[in-house]
């Protein structure tokens, strides 16, 4: 074989070998991790009912698409609750299936701060798990110091994109006792309208018309006025709407609320650009231990009522009230670190099936099993944030027209 032919032959071998990064299937040989007892619960102090979820781990599998074999997660079990050494209730859940993947126990024991709680879980097939913990104390002197309306506030969302919204800037404070304390913060809103008030009715209901009033597009009331006795008279219509406090607000206040600690505003990293966002709004007291915590957050504000009206001459405009509620939850150290893991899982850079890193481990505080039971004590404060006359349709600067419907914004 001539040299050139030999070279091409050998070169071909080398290139084929190099480009062929080989993939082979191998069996996954590892200890069986299916069938482990799993217990989860968030037990809130001072509430009449709490839920405990009991299930088992199951093999990852694929049948017609990626799904979890929920049926295999079910397990009948008995839960015993002890408070300060005393058995307070025993619940089995043979008939209490809340969803297809776990059994739910409804616990009626009311927990109070400083209670020592012990919970035993026993399954029908003899598996046992347990949990112990102390109910955290309430937060002292929680106060909403100020709620300021921030119209047209420009901010960067979690993806780093600039947005503009009407926001409430809620400033709050509370005292810390200097121990190892951990918290979460949730914000809620309650709105109500009363119309008319003291004769200051902008408009009157007219006979022969349909009216539909929506409350933040969540609920609406439609009514037809065909009674001359009702029409052209003052009519009191009251709506009330309340959102359960959530973590869906923006923590880019002063200082930014990150999960490490309440940071100063001089933090080098733009909170919005961080890959791991404090989705579940947890923080510790490292920076203010033993003193007062002052911080502010932003929650979106939306006009209480959107009108859907087929009549252009309708100037129905009630008087409204808007309340902001803050819930500071005292949580355990276990819960704090658990939430940090959930924040990581929520980030854009994380995926369970990453070929590079593998999945993140979810911590567990259950003895004899996996999962978590967390004891939480909520401290709530509410303050009226805003009140006033809803602007008349034609006066509203934020107004747009889509066909027959008219939408109003806040002046």
């Amino acid at each position: 074989m001539k040299f050139r032919s030999l070279y091409i032959y050998i070169a071909s071998l080398a290139v084929v070998a190099l480009f062929n990064a080989c993939r082979h299937d191998i069996d996954l040989e590892m200890d069986d991790t299916a069938g482990v007892l799993c217990v989860n619960a968030i037990l809130t102090a001072d509430t009449a009912e709490n839920l405990i979820y009991v299930s088992k781990t199951v093999e990852s599998s694929s049948q017609s698409g990626y799904y979890i074999n929920y049926g295999k997660m079910n397990v009948n079990s008995t839960v015993s609750v002890y408070v300060n050494g005393t058995l307070t209730e025993t619940v089995d859940n043979k008939s209490m299936i809340d969803n297809v993947s776990s059994m739910v126990h409804r616990i009626k024991t009311v927990f109070h701060e400083d209670d020592f709680v012990h919970i035993d879980v026993t399954t029908e097939d003899g598996q046992k798990a347990s949990f112990e913990g102390v109910v955290p104390k309430h937060v002292a002197n929680l106060n909403i110091d100020n709620v300021a309306l921030a119209l047209g506030k420009t901010y960067k969302n979690d993806r780093g994109h600039t947005e503009t919204d009407n926001m409430f800037n809620v400033s709050l404070s509370f005292d810390d006792d200097g121990g190892d304390n951990f918290y979460t913060l949730a914000i809620g809103e309650r709105d109500s309208t009363v119309s008319p008030v003291n004769g200051q009715l902008f408009g009157r209901l007219l006979s022969g018309r349909y009216y539909s009033v929506s409350w933040k597009s969540m609920s609406s009331m439609s009514f037809y006025v065909n009674d001359d006795e009702v029409a052209n008279k003052d009519t009191v219509v009251t709506y009330a709407y309340e959102t359960k406090p959530t973590f869906e607000y923006y923590s880019n206040g002063q200082p930014p609320l990150t999960d490490e600690e309440v940071q100063t505003s001089a933090a080098d990293d733009d909170v919005a650009l961080m890959n791991i966002h404090n989705v579940y709004k947890t923080f510790c007291n490292k920076r203010f231990a033993g003193s007062k915590c002052n911080l502010s957050v932003y929650s979106k504000f939306q006009l209480p009522i959107t009108y859907e009206c087929s009549y252009t001459d309708f100037d129905y405009a009630p008087y409204y009230y808007c309340y902001q509620t803050v819930v500071v939850s005292s949580i355990s150290e276990d819960y704090y670190y658990y939430i940090k893991v959930l924040n990581t899982r929520s980030s854009d850079t994380y995926e369970d099936n990453s070929e590079l890193t593998g999945p993140a481990r979810i911590p567990s505080n259950i003895t004899g099993g996996v999962g978590n039971i967390f004891l939480v004590t909520n401290t709530t404060a509410t303050v009226q944030a805003l009140n006033g006359w809803h602007p008349k349709r034609v006066d509203s600067p934020i107004y747009y027209d889509e066909g027959d419907y008219y939408y109003y914004g806040l002046r």
Binding site: I10, D25, I26, Y66, S101, E351, S354, P359
Partner: protein, 800 residues
């Protein structure tokens, strides 16, 4: 009277003798290769009767202080004939030595005599890596490689198969200080880590330390690879040319002015793209290319002054371009109530470049017989640039969309150092010095532009540039060490290094004591012990198990502290069997502020601060290494076995394994290396190496669990008992190589045929859950990726 005279004479003679016996004189000079006048590093000088000795330093200079009177000095170095000089010393003397290369010697690896054996040096966990050893390591794709040779030594773990990353005694891959003529090299690999940037032809000497680090080495915590390049032949011109399947190399050296000025140039390039081109489609164009260039100038002003200028420049470039002309896209137009066909030209591609430029200027000055100094100025520039583009043109429609982006990262180091060798006393060889390094880290600059035009609007041109701030750091080091001979049996090397690292307004001080002790039990037995503290202020963020150009070197900052390591080693050494050395070394290493990615996080696809992705914690590593080595004869080689265990542990708030201890990714319990070379005759040599590693670790799950969210809803997640809970299958591979020599008067031709992974075992580079065509996980199965199967290669070399 006669008796008195006799007594007086005897007394006078005694006085004179006594005076002479107490007088010390110093013999110093340079040790060079007789043929090329290349300085020899680490040559041994021993006085035969007193057993006092020394070694030549990094510039071939030696100094030994002896009692005045008769002395017999033996000069030796592996691969060279010994020289013996009988002297009568009455005053300080300069003796320059030229050693003749023992080209006909059959040994191909270290150590000519027992006295030269590395086991008799004070330091432990260190070894010389001669060029011959590198050249006799079976090649991969025609390239022998320094780093692959180091990977064959005990205590050193390989990364994924064939890659140039290495992990020493439980340390991370970025904890190895790799010095090229005294300057740290940031990026040491080409082609995703399968070649290092070091060409064997440019190398003069390599010393590898994995413990007992001399105080002059600072900046990393696991190992030191001190590479010295050739200065250039002062007498004759010669060189070599190698042509391989994918790369070719050239080396030339020679005098510019004989005995005064010389040069050495080595270059390497690849024609990978040309080889792969026939296998690509016509409309795609992929190219990969790299080169290395080493150049050195060496000028001798006098016996006391010498200046060197060295330059390394290397670059990789990978580009791909695709064109798809006149492809058709159909769209329903509601205005026309018809389907219209767009004729589109598209071109897209990317261009990735990365490389190092390192230049050093050094001045050697001999102040006296006992004091030698080297002053160095250095410049080090690492850069990486990625560009990509995607152009759409709608033909006949006056519409185009052109997008492009770029990403750029670089490091520039500028510094200087001064190092002294001071030999004030026969029992002491003192080294001390200082260095300053100015770092400019520019981690990320990215920009993008969009250039559009459609029929309804004028052309738009939008550009966005985002630049992370440069990070400036100052690094100052001071050190002192003493090689101290206590009697005939005890040799102690105490040392101390003090470093200051200043970054972002924060100043970190690191105190690093070092101590090595050697005790000669008998002619055949030696015991050693060592303790060292090391500190590290820069880290490498990696994204893949293989080296990627996007791997990022970053400095510590206000929140991430210097990594620190403490290591204790004990060893016993035996040379009672002729031509053989046996050793056992045990070590325990503790790392503080070691960095790991948080659970589930990696560098890929992230934005924002890198320090958001990592956490600091502790590392623990312990092990024992056994080595049996034959260094002389036609057959040479070694067998080594390492048993080790390496863990990591981070705090609960770190986001790493919930604060519980877990095995390090490269915690490979067992490691066996067998290296064998045989020289059949002057024409034929055979080399073989076999490696075995226990499997590395990965985080794998095969189950799902429920978890509860703070809003009370239930979620589902993989159930992971612990990080790195799974052991990959073990790895082993056999490499073979044969050299066929043909020597003529003016040249030597060498054919090398090698096979990497000769029995084609599919070693796991990494594994991940197997998925079906719809990307759903398949229960109980993993996909194992092997990067390098069996690879034959051939290289033709001419030496002239």
């Amino acid at each position: 009277m006669k008796q008195n005279r006799f007594v007086v004479a005897l007394a006078a003679l005694s006085l004179v003798s006594g005076a002479m016996a107490q007088k010390k004189v110093t013999v110093s000079g340079h040790i060079v290769d007789e043929t090329s006048k290349e300085t020899i590093i680490g040559a041994t000088v021993i006085e035969q009767s007193t057993k006092q000795g020394t070694v030549s330093n990094a510039f071939g200079f030696y100094s030994i202080t002896l009692p005045a009177g008769s002395a017999t000095l033996n000069y030796s170095y592996v691969g060279f004939d010994n020289q013996q000089h009988k002297l009568t010393l009455s005053r300080d003397t300069t003796i320059n030595i030229s050693l003749m290369s023992a080209a006909k010697l059959s040994e191909v690896t270290v150590t000519a005599t027992k006295k030269d054996a590395g086991i008799h040096s004070t330091g432990m966990g260190s070894m010389d890596v001669p060029v011959q050893m590198i050249e006799h390591t079976p090649s991969l794709l025609g390239e022998t490689d320094l780093i692959r040779t180091i990977q064959l030594t005990p205590g050193v773990q390989q990364g994924v198969g064939g890659a140039s990353s290495f992990y020493v005694r439980g340390g991370n891959g970025d904890e190895n200080l790799i010095l090229l003529d005294g300057t740290p090299v940031y990026k040491i690999d080409h082609l995703f880590g399968f070649f290092s940037v070091f060409t064997p032809e440019a190398i003069k000497k390599v010393t590898f330390y994995k413990s007992s680090f001399p105080a002059r080495y600072n900046g990393r915590t696991s190992s030191v690879v001190d590479i010295r390049t050739k200065d250039g032949d002062m007498q004759n011109y010669h060189g070599c040319v190698s042509i391989g399947l994918l790369t070719s190399r050239l080396n030339l050296e020679g005098p510019i002015v004989k005995d005064k000025t010389s040069f050495s140039v080595s270059a390497r390039t690849t024609y990978f793209s040309a080889v792969a081109r026939p296998f690509m489609s016509d409309d795609s164009k992929f190219s990969y290319w790299f080169y290395d260039l080493n150049a050195k100038l060496n000028h001798k002003f006098s016996d006391n002054d010498r200046i060197y200028f060295g330059l390394y420049n290397g670059q990789d470039k990978m580009a791909d371009d695709y064109k798809d002309y006149d492809f058709q896209s159909q769209e329903f137009d509601p205005e026309k109530d018809a389907t219209i066909t767009h004729h589109i030209d598209e071109a897209y591609g990317s261009d990735l470049k990365w490389g190092n430029t390192i230049s050093t200027l050094r001045w050697n000055h001999i102040f006296s017989q006992r004091l030698f100094a080297n002053t160095t100025l250095s410049y080090n520039h690492y850069r990486m640039r990625l560009k990509s583009y995607d152009y759409f043109t709608y033909k006949d429609e006056d519409y185009y969309d052109r997008q492009s982006s770029s990403y750029h990262s670089e490091i520039i180091d500028k510094g200087g150092s001064i190092d002294f060798d001071y030999m004030p006393h026969p029992q002491h060889t003192i080294k001390f010095g200082a260095s300053y390094l100015y770092h400019d880290f520019a981690p990320e600059t990215s920009s993008s532009s969009v250039n559009m035009k459609n029929k309804e609007s004028l052309p738009t041109d939008t550009s966005v540039t985002s630049t992370s701030k440069d990070i400036y750091a100052h690094e100052l080091s001071l050190y002192a060490e003493d090689d101290w001979l206590i009697g005939d049996r005890v040799h102690v090397n105490p040392g101390f290094a003090f470093t200051i690292f200043s970054v972002q307004g924060k100043v970190y001080k690191n105190y690093q004591p070092r101590l090595s002790v050697r005790y000669v039990i008998s002619d055949d037995w030696t015991a050693k012990a060592a303790y060292s503290q090391m500190a590290q202020c820069v880290h490498l963020l990696t994204s893949m198990p293989i080296a990627m150009p996007t791997d990022l070197w970053v400095p510590i900052n206000k929140t991430l502290k210097p990594e620190r390591a403490q290591q204790v080693s004990l060893g016993a050494y035996y040379t009672g069997v002729e031509d053989w050395e046996f050793s056992v070394e045990g070590f325990y290493k503790k790392l503080n502020n070691v960095i790991e990615y948080k659970d589930g996080m990696s560098f890929m696809g992230f934005s924002g601060s890198w320090s958001d992705l990592v956490a600091m914690g502790e590392g623990f590593s312990k092990g024992v290494e056994f080595l049996a080595r034959k260094t002389i004869g036609k057959q040479t080689g070694w067998l080594s076995y390492t048993l080790s265990k390496t863990d990591r542990k981070f705090s609960r708030d770190s986001g790493v394994n919930n604060g519980e201890r877990f095995p390090f990714t490269y915690d490979r319990r067992h490691n066996v290396n067998v290296v064998y070379s045989i020289k059949f005759n002057e024409k034929v040599e055979l080399d073989a190496s076999w490696m075995f590693y226990s499997g590395a670790c990965a985080t794998i799950t095969n189950a799902q669990q429920q978890y509860i969210k703070p809003d009370g809803h239930i979620g589902y997640a993989p159930y992971v008992p612990s990080r790195n809970n799974y052991r990959l299958p073990c790895s082993h591979l056999l490499n073979l190589g044969i050299n066929l020599h043909k020597r003529r008067k003016n040249y030597e031709r060498i054919w090398n045929f090698s096979v990497y992974n000769a029995y084609n075992y599919m070693n796991p580079a990494f594994v991940y859950p197997k998925t079906d065509d719809s990307y759903n996980v398949i229960e109980g199965k993993l996909t194992k990726v092997t990067i390098l199967p069996i690879i034959p290669s051939a290289t033709l070399t001419y030496k002239f």
